[in-house]
Amino acid sequence: MSVVRLVLKLIVGLIYAVLAAILLYFPFAQILAYVARETRLFQFQQTLQVEDSLLPCLGLAVIYFVVSVIRRMLEPAADVLGENSKNQSDDSK
């Protein structure tokens, strides 16, 4: 069971990482494209447009929702919702 929990936690972590990468990709891609255009030192082609990322994000959100539901079934709800860790950190103070 602990392996299942670990895998689910890993999936959640990966989803966070991918969503953060998607969020940061677009503004930095615009900056890179601008620098490339102005300096002509290198070439940069933006591979993903913002609107093209909508459906993949929805897909990730659905997976996240399903994983969260499974995690709540496997563990006490407070652990998944992050309340236990908060209480623990409060206790340690």
């Binding site: 503004p27 900056i31 929805l58």
Partner: protein, 466 residues
């Protein structure tokens, strides 16, 4: 991303799944992430503008509370950056064109090129929110200590594009507190989203199609045709903006947040001052609290009060856009409010008028105020002062002849008036919430059909340009 688009529907479902599935301690990051993604949808590069302004205002607020002796300096720095951002993106072109025209008028010919600057989405709204936070902190309110809470307050996506302009005291406690899933709030949220879509797609866009035709060639429309366009625009802008606000409030409710109303049936107002208490409430109360009162309000004598009212309304007009028509529109409303105050000061009859409960007088005052407001909308909608003159002049330039092509527009206007009057008597939202689920489902089905029948293309909300 437009609220009336399929992409927004996908985004909202994604947002709800991510938000409600997330542990409570990370929900604020989810809100900030979603809001920045929403913002990037129009121009990704302006992500940096929003992020830098948020960071700077947050830092200034924090420094202000840590070093109260230098609070004035931090206030000045923060307000300067906020105002410079609006001035650069919104008014640089307007100022340059005006300067060019003025120099040309005195015989100096200039040929400096003015770069076309794309207006960042919602800049007038989020900078005003940051300014209200900074001024409140300066006035003694506690500064927010978490950057993420502050970023969520500034960028909360349902109101990021076109308000309402939220106060820190309304939003920050909600962000810091826990959001609970409440079925009644969800139903209310769904109702408001449906109502907003109906207002936008069935009313605003439909009336807008006629208004656009008239304002594209105002010389071709006379008499009744021009008059109908004036009324149609009054309802188009109301349904467009209040529809947007309904969707914003509805989406916030789905996420467990409460946003105050921005419109309270403005066209039933009996005076210009009452109109401004009912129209774009978040902006008019912002102007009152941070501009009118800062100028001295009504505490510095009679004439100074009139001057303060005029200044507030002129700047309020200019806030809407970089064009002389907006300045004139603001001035016009300033004159109306100032005149109302003057008449109430001078004549007993006008002082007692607002207290009188006569139905006939109330109806007359409502109709008169509505027409005064409509006159202002002509200035607001026109691209130039001469175009406004043409539209208004053409109303009286021909006989009022009925044209069958105008029938659907007039019917729609009648429906708009009926719905406006009905809403003042009947709280439909509370009634709908109490209905059993099948009745609610039937309501959503009807809304879907109406949207399907009226939807042509995704039309931008009018206030997105501000």
């Amino acid at each position: 991303m437009l609220f009336n688009s399929a992409n927004y529907a996908i985004f909202l479902i994604t947002a709800l799944l991510l938000f409600w599935s997330s542990p409570r301690r990370i929900r604020v990051y989810v809100i900030v992430g979603l809001s920045f993604y929403f913002y990037m949808y129009s121009y990704p590069i302006y992500f940096f503008l929003l992020a830098i302004l948020t960071l700077f205002n947050f830092a200034m607020g924090l420094e202000m509370s840590r070093r109260p002796q230098s609070a004035r300096l931090y206030l000045t720095l923060a307000l300067t950056l906020d105002l410079l951002s609006i001035a650069f993106y919104k008014y640089a072109n307007f100022a340059a064109h005006t300067l060019q025209s003025m120099l040309g008028f005195v015989g100096v010919k200039t040929n400096f090129v003015v770069a076309e600057i794309t207006l960042p989405l919602g800049i007038s709204f989020f900078t005003f929110q940051m300014m209200s936070y900074i001024i409140n902190t300066y006035r003694g309110e506690r500064a927010e200590e978490s950057f993420w809470n502050f970023a969520a307050y500034v960028s909360f996506f349902p109101h990021l594009a076109a308000g309402p302009i939220l106060r820190p005291t309304t939003m920050l406690p909600q962000i810091k507190g826990e959001q609970h899933y409440d079925e009644e709030q969800v139903v209310r949220g769904m109702f408001l989203i449906a109502q907003g879509l109906i207002k936008k797609i069935a009313f605003a866009d439909y009336l807008g199609s006629y208004v656009d035709k008239v304002y594209a060639a105002p010389a071709d429309y006379h008499g009744l045709a021009a008059l109908i366009a004036v009324y149609a625009y009054a309802f188009q802008i109301y349904f467009d903006f209040s529809g947007y606000t309904d969707i914003a409030i509805g989406c916030s409710k789905l996420l467990g947040f409460q946003i105050p109303i921005n419109f309270d049936l403005p066209y039933i107002s009996k005076s210009p001052r009452e109109f401004w208490r009912r129209w774009h409430i978040s902006l008019s109360s912002w102007l009152r609290d941070y501009l009118y009162i800062s100028l001295g309000g009504n505490r510095k004598g009679r004439w100074r009060t009139h001057f303060n009212m005029m200044t507030t309304m002129v700047l309020g007009g200019l806030w809407h856009g970089a064009n002389w028509t907006f300045v004139l529109w603001g001035t016009y409303h300033g004159i109306l409010i100032s005149a109302q105050r003057f008449l109430e000061e001078q004549f007993e009859f006008f002082r007692r008028l607002s207290a009188k409960k006569s139905a006939v007088l109330s109806a007359l005052a409502t109709v008169f105020t509505f027409h005064l407001v409509c006159l202002g909308w002509v200035l607001f909608r026109s691209k130039s002062i001469s175009q406004a003159g043409t539209v208004l002049g053409n109303i009286f330039r021909a006989a009022f002849v009925w044209n069958s092509a105008q029938t659907p527009i007039v019917l729609m206007l009648a429906l708009a008036v009926i719905s406006h009057v009905m809403r003042s008597k009947w709280d439909m939202e509370s009634w709908y919430v109490r209905m059993p689920a099948p009745v609610q489902a039937f309501g959503y089905a009807c809304v879907t059909i109406v949207i399907y029948l009226f939807f042509t293309t995704e039309q931008r909300f009018i206030y997105f340009q501000f």
